[in-house]
Amino acid sequence: MTDTTVEAGRFGPYGGRFVAETLVPALDELSRAYAEARADEAFEAERLDLLAHYVGRPTPLYRARGLSEELGLEVWLKREDLCHTGAHKVNNTIGQVLLAKRMGKERVIAETGAGQHGVATATACALLGLRCEVFMGEEDVRRQAPNVRRMALLGAEVHPVTSGSRTLKDAMNEALRDWVTNIANTYYCVGSAAGPHPYPAIVRDFQDVIGREAREQILSRTGGLPDAVVACVGGGSNAIGIFAAFLGDEKVRLIGVEAAGEGVTTPHHAAPLGHGRVGVLHGMKTYVLADEHGQIQEAHSVSAGLDYPGVGPEHSWLKDTGRAEYVSIEDGEALTAFHWLASSEGILPALESSHALAYLRPLSKRLPAGSVVVVNLSGRGDKDPETVQRVLEEQTS
């Protein structure tokens, strides 16, 4: 195994720091400040207190009765949708905004796709008294209007990004441009386990609470480890967050589900691990969607949170080493799973998480009956009814 700690900055050949020189000293400063913070009992005590009493952790591990019966599996849902603000993103923003405050930064910036990370950053900033500005592709501002309003109500300023494909990757470019300009007083709160070192390791470490809780919960509820753990993969934070605790349990299959969009044989998908090539984007070496000239291609997914042409570098390494496997689910299958969970469990899942849920059907054909599967239900679907409605109307018209 390679050293994947915060100091190392590499996951096998992946990760690293491919950024403008101006940013490198700031990344060094961040690495140092992060290591000091994590070693500081008072910092950890405040962070854990907020996770418990503000975010609402531990989140439940719920045995999905209807799904289990229908599939002949034991399906357990890790209920990150019950976190304050409705998704796992807040686990990371509480940690990073506490760190920003400790570093004496006055201003926090973030990129967002679905708006969940933007809302989670705005929330943590409101709580901890820091200024917050969020970059969001114009296309996503349109697709995820409710979250834009939530950010505004929380006191954040949202900057619509009009360059490139006007989605998450362009929002991240714009956040990097802002950071390089305002580096002295600004903290860049990256929203997934992606970007230049040390972000992939920091975000993993702030999200690994998901897997540590889930592992303990499944052991105490079933007396054993699960046969498989399934999570959707956009930038990869909820997936690495639940995988991390199981990496050493070699019998536990780790399955990441990318967005196949309109199909992986079309240009309209968001599955760099399954169908991309190795490249450099947003400061990291990893699998990306790019053409034969190295131009990054636009990703496509019905879920804005998965609509990203890169992926966190640790997943590239887990793919190459075979420790995790990566599959993909199309838009239509995810929408079906959205309705399926709503009707059989009374839970509206985020469209992102619906991709992980949709993979349960094919998985049930590959696993022996009665196998135990934990699915990371990374967020709730309250932001998504308009998208679901729009797609339904497009299909019937």
Binding site: S163, V180, A184, V280
Partner: protein, 265 residues
């Protein structure tokens, strides 16, 4: 000595700073780029930086972002840019530095690019998102082929990072005048140029200053202290504002002539 190092040495002999002109290759097409490079060289540019377009130019401001979008829209590729350099080499020996982002280079293949670039008549590379600790795959082949890899030093660079940059530099160091993206408005250019000069004394290499240099007056202020002056977004803007190839050539020629004249004073 490389052609780039030679250009700095000649400028120094003339007791002036070298003028480095940035052009976005393929904006709006490569034929125009070829004409603009020749005009800039004739008008007094000592070195040309040819920007290779990238879909995600996260270190560039709006001017070069839009120029890259126009270049990509006209189908500009790294292979195409090398072809343009080959054509330019039929008419001029002005040093040419390819300026861009790492992903198109990775996709092309570092070693293959060095071979093809050298054959085409390229003199060096400047890769914005490739700091010294990551640059070995390109630096090794470039060094072996006698092509320069130009490192960047920023106002935030620590002494250790300045040393790392100096250790890979073979012709000059590019000093970024401000914390920001290309095309940003610089304040206190003179002070930045003094820092560039101090850096040059320290590392024993020429240092060119870029970012925020727009007008002949700016260039003169920087040239009073620094070994080289880089003008980018202002050139790109001047070309973009003119309609048609002839007008673009005239606009770039006029601006470069003005910059060179101001720096000669």
């Amino acid at each position: 000595m490389s052609r780039i190092a030679d250009a700095f040495a000649r400028a120094k002999d003339d007791r002036r700073a070298a003028l480095v002109i940035y052009l976005s290759a393929g904006d709006p097409d490569l034929e125009t780029t070829i004409a603009l490079v020749l005009a800039a060289a004739e008008a007094g540019a000592d070195i040309i930086e040819l920007g290779v377009p990238f879909s995600d130019p996260s270190a560039d401001g709006p001017s070069i972002q839009r120029a890259s979008e126009r270049a990509l829209a006209s189908g500009t590729t790294l292979t195409g840019v090398l072809g343009a350099v080959r054509t330019i080499r039929e008419s001029t020996s002005v040093p040419i530095l390819l300026f861009g982002y790492y992903n198109p280079i990775i996709t092309y293949g570092e070693a293959r690019l060095v071979t093809d670039a050298k054959e085409a008549g390229v003199d060096g590379f400047l890769v914005v998102d490739l700091p010294p600790e990551e640059c070995a795959p390109l630096h090794g082949p470039a060094l072996a082929a006698g092509l320069d890899l130009v490192p960047l030093v920023a106002p935030t660079s620590t002494p250790a990072r300045v040393e790392a940059a100096a250790s890979i530099a073979s012709s000059f160091i590019y000093y970024v005048s401000l914390t920001g993206v290309t095309g940003a408005r610089a304040v206190a250019l003179g002070e930045a140029a003094e820092r560039a000069n101090a850096l040059s004394q320290q590392v024993g290499l020429p240092v060119a200053l870029g970012f925020g240099v727009k007008t002949p007056a700016d260039a003169a202020e920087v040239a009073a202290h620094a070994d080289g002056v880089v003008v980018g977004s202002a050139i790109v803007d001047a070309a973009a504002a003119a309609d048609g190839q002839q007008a673009k050539v005239a606009a770039v020629r006029e601006l470069v002539t003005g910059l060179a004249a101001a720096m000669a004073k």
